[in-house]
Structure formats: structure tokens, C-alpha cells
Symmetry: C2
Subunit: 401 residues, 2 copies
């Protein structure tokens, strides 16, 4: 016997997103009993520090600091002690689920050397909170967020000499968790490694903003309700490689991901998307796609929402917007700015969106025809940089000295 | 200026699926110029062969043969020479895209020791054809399918002593391609490794079929139009770990993946799904979801379609079927069998499907209340085993001696 019940609502995967931490924690309630602890951290310094690359020659993600953080977990032993060790390659079994079933998640954060010479990290707790949700999707263990933050801060202190000086320079921090059980089988890995590597890097826009052209892709879809687009899993990025290659062949720098038959804006490449416009009700509004389970809850996104809401100068909305709305706003002169936001670039202004065979023109600065960003993008960039580099004292930054 | 054009059709990602090989090859037309060659294969035998595990104690995916195949690729050098080398761990940079952006795809095939003592592989060319499509999705290079097959066949020959004797026993072959560029950055990897490892394994059902209970998941979605569900990417498996864990807590062995508001059947766990029923038109029919871009083009799936079409005893359909249709067929006595099909299990009979809070009963054998499979599942299993173990000479098998 059976009966067919009506589904109550379109089902979105709730667990691995920031806004449902409680239910996730209830399901995996071992968090307090099973975490690593900062007090157990052991540091083994390298004997031969690398020769540092002149900061002008840094290429993002290609050079790394002298040390890394490693924390092992296994079903049998739980979390082991955290270790800061000399940077080294992994000795990895070729059957590990990290290499076959994308048992992997990551984060991106930065450490900054401020104009006062002090080293700061920016909202690292938010990164580790997000990672603590990502692991659930992989069936991997959670940990205590603050213990993780303290271990990473210690790594930054150990490698602080690798943080280049100067505004725009930073040390990119890459925490990751990978499944390391030496066996094939589609199931949650019984062994895992949380690790953090650090990559000194220069400004994303070395000569100032360079507005980009986005390709609004109607063929490929990044995330779906009931999928894992709201978690920072490696699996969310693999499918974008081919579409990105096609977009580049057409002369666009990034993809503007869309969703649904009405082409709602989803994300801009690996960034959250922001649209600054006068909406259909005539209200000046900054809009970013809402966290409906298909959108990554970006930390720069959250920071921009918080800053602009404090300003109180225009309406700030987490909602939905379609390409037709953007196109019409451009045509009617209601579109002010479009930009992407993420840790790597902070803000990335957009000057054109290719959609259905035509290019939609996006305004930059109405007072400066040569400008590569609009006034709002520039102001937000400057405000965020002022916080990150310590010109403004702010609760989002932690001084590590 | 811009104009809004109507999209011609719902856009499905065509490139990385078996049925659009031509367009994919047109886009990546370097295949003939850039492949590795079997004639260049070098074999380095291990000096200390592992002690083989008694075949009764084999656990799937946990022990491996003495050798592996490795073929490196880089943007600068192209494909290098294939090497069969002693099985070893990888020395892997912690920034490789295989560990961060799921730059990885894999295949699953088997080598069998037949009742005549001869070693056979089964449709390995189809696996390598599929892998040659998967790499496109990752922006990684293609290769010549036959050259790959010959290299893997040579690996099987080198390790043939590891193939256990007996029907149901085999050596599982795991080809994989991973992105190995030692740098962070969301873009196609500039370095890659194609490798193959071999894992001797016992029968999936050591004591005969064990029919499973599937949980028809209305909360999570495996694949979607415009995604990469038709390619065998690691990224298609990561998102299933958490739902699988939840289903197991509810007492179900596997998930029945659904798609759409009308709950179309998609896949059964990591297998293709088959429904044998009398359809609404009163026609006896074997139905499996059609390759619409969200379904993995399984090789066992293809083999079953081919075998049953040759029988000509009932209608064989690649189409769509919803849970409501299955439930109604069960209620009206029109449902004959449901089973999953894949390389690991060959055929996996289903006895119940949990859907919306109730269990739908799936018939097994009407003449045997203790049976763990229906007559069709059993017949197909026996037919496939007869081919794979060489009782029947067949074009799908290649003898390696």
C-alpha cells in the first residue's frame, strides 16, 4: 500500500548553506566532542626558507609560503593534532576519494600587511563557518570554527614575512578539506585531511580596474535547486571549465551564470553578482541574487550588503533579477552599474554582457568616459580596502601581532 | 543597442555526452596530432610483488595489483610516453586543480578470467570513448581511444596473475584523468595525468542477488539540463554523499534520483535505472531514462538495451517515466520489475521504493516468494556473465592472451 502525497514546496537543499546551520549541527551533533584544538598545535619550522619572489613578479596561486597547516581526521581516531609543517607535496594514494568522487571543499581568504605594518586577517571566521557547512555535503566531519581560525592565524604569523607590503598585495589563504581514504567506493571518505596553504599575491588589477565583458550563458547551468551550489565544493567548479573556455573563445572574460527559463542572474564567473539600478518601481536599488540554495554565500557579498545597508542611501535587496530586466533597464537608462564581488578581486566592474547574440551595454562612470569602474564599485572597493589594510579599525579584521 | 532574441530550445549541454562526439571532436580537433601511442609504452616491473589476498577476503576497491599505467600531459609538451610502473602513491602538489576544482574524471571497467582460463576485457573501448568526452568538460586534452585501450590491455596482461578465478570474480579497472598543474586558479589545468589502477574483487552479491530498497529523493538533485550529468566526472558524485547518508539513516541502500516537478526517474544510486512494466497502452515494455544530458550513458545500460532489442520479446524504450506512473503501475499490478545496472554489480534488483513517506512495492519473482530478483533481471545477469566470462564468444569481449 502507498499513497501519493503532494510535495509541500519546491525542494531546495537546505543543509549545507549558511542559513540552516542549526539543522545541520543537529544532524552532526558531535561537533563539541570531536574537534581538533589550537592548544595541541605543533609547529615544525623549515630549515631552508624559500627565496622570496620580488613582489612585482608574483603570479596569483603559483608561489607558496614556507609552511602549511595539516590536520588529519579518520573515522577511527577522529581529529588528530594540528601541525604547522614545512610546505611539502602530498604522498597520496591513487584511489583516494578526493581524486575520484570530488570529496573536496575549499575556502579563500587573505592576510594583509596594513599601512601600519601590522598583519591582519579579514572575517576568517566566516570562511571557516562556511567550510564547516561544506564538509556536511561530503559526509565529512565538522570541527570547531574558532579552533580552526586560531590554527590558521598561527600559520599566518609563522609565515608573515611572506606577506608583501603595499596596498593590493596580500597573502592568499587556501584552506581545504580532502577525502583521503585509500580505497575506491562512492561513499563518504573514512579519512580526511584539512590543510591550509598560503600564496603571496599582488593586486588583482595592478594598473587599476579593468572592466570585464561577461557572457550570459544560456546553455550551461552552474547550480540547481537540490544541488550543492550554496557550498564551496570543488564539484561546483569542474563543470564551468568548458563553458569558460567557450566564452573566452567568444571574447568574454567570465561567464554570467543564469538560471531558469526566464534567465535569472545567478553568479558572475566565480564571483557573486551585483546590479545597481533604478528598478521598475523607480527606486534606486543595489540587488544581488538571494541565497536560495543555488548561490554561494560569499563573504565579500555579505560585507557589501552590510556596508551599503549601513549607508542607507539606496535600497539594498537580496532577490531575483532576470536578463530581460537588465536589458530593459539598460535600454531605458535605468541601469547604473554591474559588478562581481569575491575575495580574489574584491570588486570586478562589468562593462558589457553578451546575451543571446547581442551585447548589453553597462554604464561605468557617467562623468568619465575613460573610467573602468562606476562610482559605487570604486567606493565599495576603497571602503573594503580601507578595512582590510587597517586604515579603518573594524570588527571584521583581526590584528595578528 | 541590443535586441532580445528568443532561445530556440531548452539548452542541454551537448558536448560531453556520447551522442555528440562529432561536434566535440570538431571543437577539439587536435586529437590525431596529439595523442600518446601504445608503441611508445615502457614497462618497469616491480621488484617485490605484493602478497595476494585470498580471493574470499577481497573487499571492493581496497587492494590493488602490482602495477599501474601513467601517462602525463602538459600544455607545453602534450601527451608524453605511456608508462606501466610499480603501483605507488602520487607525489602531488597541494594546489593541484584535481584537489580544489574537481578537475577529475574516471571510468570503471573489469577484466575477467573466463571458465576457459583466458583473460578478457569487456567493451573497454566504450569506457575510453566516454572518458574522451569527459575530459572535454574539464578543458583537458583528448587522446586516441584505441591507443588508450591497447595501453590498458597491456597493463591487464602485466597484472593478469592478480585476476581471481571463478565466476563473479574479476579485476576492476579504474582509469582516471586528474588536473595536476601546481597552481591555484579556476581554469582548465595546464598539466594532467591519465592513470589506471587495478583492484581485484569478488562478486557484488557473494550469496546471490540481494534486492535493495531505494529512497526516491525529492530534496536533492543529481544532475540537471545544462549541467554535466552525462559525463563521468568526479563532481557528479560529491553532492550525493550527504543524501546517501540520509537515505541510509532511513533504512534504504541507495537513492533513486529524481528530476523535475513531476518526479521523473533519473538514476538509481550510481547505476542506470530500468523499469519493466506493462505501460499505459497495455504494452509490455522495458524502459530506461533517455540520454537527455542528465543521464550517464552507462555501458551496462547500453549492453542491456542491445541484448533485449535483439530478443525482440517486448518493447524496449529510452524515454521518461515518473514516480506517479510507477506507483500507479504497482497499484494496478502492471509493474513487473525494477533494477539498477552498472559495471560493479552488473544488475541490482529493487524490491521497494520509498517515495513521499510510503513504500512502493516492486515485484520480484511471482513464482518464488523467496526470490531476490525478477526473471528478467536474472536472465540479463546470466546473459551478461556468459559474455564477460567467455561462455559465449561475443564481439564485446577481447581475449588478452
Amino acid at each position: 500500500m502507498f499513497s501519493i502525497l503532494k510535495s509541500s514546496l519546491p525542494a531546495a537543499r537546505m543543509a549545507p548553506s549558511l542559513f540552516s546551520t542549526l539543522s545541520a549541527k543537529a544532524a552532526y551533533s558531535t561537533i563539541n566532542k570531536n574537534t581538533f584544538h589550537f592548544k595541541d598545535l605543533k609547529t615544525t619550522k623549515c630549515t631552508k626558507p624559500k627565496q622570496s619572489i620580488p613582489k612585482e613578479k608574483l603570479v596569483f596561486g603559483t608561489s607558496f609560503s614556507d609552511h602549511m597547516l595539516e590536520i588529519k581526521w579518520s573515522e577511527s581516531k577522529g581529529w588528530e593534532t594540528p601541525n604547522i609543517v614545512p610546505f611539502h607535496n602530498f604522498d597520496l594514494h591513487p584511489a583516494v576519494p578526493a581524486l575520484h568522487y570530488a570529496s573536496q571543499c575549499f575556502e579563500g581568504s587573505k592576510a594583509y600587511r596594513g599601512n601600519d605594518g601590522k598583519v591582519r586577517v579579514f572575517r576568517l571566521d566566516k570562511n571557516m563557518e562556511r567550510m564547516n557547512n561544506s564538509v556536511i555535503a561530503l559526509g565529512l566531519p565538522q570541527f570547531d570554527i574558532q579552533e580552526a581560525v586560531k590554527c590558521i592565524e598561527e600559520l599566518v604569523k609563522v609565515d608573515k614575512s611572506a606577506i608583501p607590503e603595499g596596498v593590493g598585495y596580500s597573502m592568499y589563504l587556501r584552506p581545504a578539506v580532502i577525502g583521503t581514504e585509500p580505497a575506491l567506493g562512492v561513499r563518504p571518505s573514512k579519512e580526511a585531511l584539512l590543510y591550509v596553504i598560503c600564496s603571496p599575491c599582488g593586486p588583482y588589477f595592478p594598473t587599476g580596474f579593468q572592466a570585464v565583458r561577461l557572457y550570459a550563458d544560456t546553455d550551461h547551468v552552474r547550480a540547481w535547486p537540490g544541488g550543492s551550489g550554496a557550498s564551496k565544493l570543488g564539484s561546483n567548479y569542474a563543470g564551468g571549465m568548458y563553458p569558460q573556455k567557450l566564452a573566452a573563445l567568444k571574447g568574454y572574460q567570465q561567464i554570467l551564470w543564469l538560471f531558469g527559463e526566464n534567465h535569472q542572474i545567478s553568479e558572475a564567473g566565480t564571483m557573486n553578482a551585483f546590479i545597481f539600478w533604478v528598478n521598475e518601481q523607480g527606486v534606486l536599488e543595489l540587488l544581488t541574487p538571494e541565497l536560495d540554495g543555488t548561490i554561494l554565500p560569499g563573504i565579500t557579498r555579505d560585507s557589501i550588503l552590510s556596508i551599503t545597508r549601513k549607508w542607507g542611501e539606496f535600497q539594498v535587496t537580496e532577490g531575483k533579477i532576470t536578463m530581460d530586466q537588465v536589458a530593459l533597464a539598460s535600454q531605458e537608462g535605468r541601469l547604473r552599474e554591474v559588478f562581481g564581488a569575491g575575495t580574489a578581486c574584491v570588486i570586478s566592474p562589468v562593462k558589457e554582457i553578451g546575451f543571446m547574440g547581442s551585447d548589453i551595454h553597462i554604464p561605468l562612470d557617467p562623468n568619465d568616459p575613460t573610467a573602468q569602474s562606476g562610482p559605487l564599485a570604486k567606493r565599495l572597493y576603497n571602503d573594503l580596502m580601507a578595512i582590510q589594510y587597517g586604515d579603518i579599525s573594524h570588527e571584521w579584521t583581526t590584528i595578528l601581532e
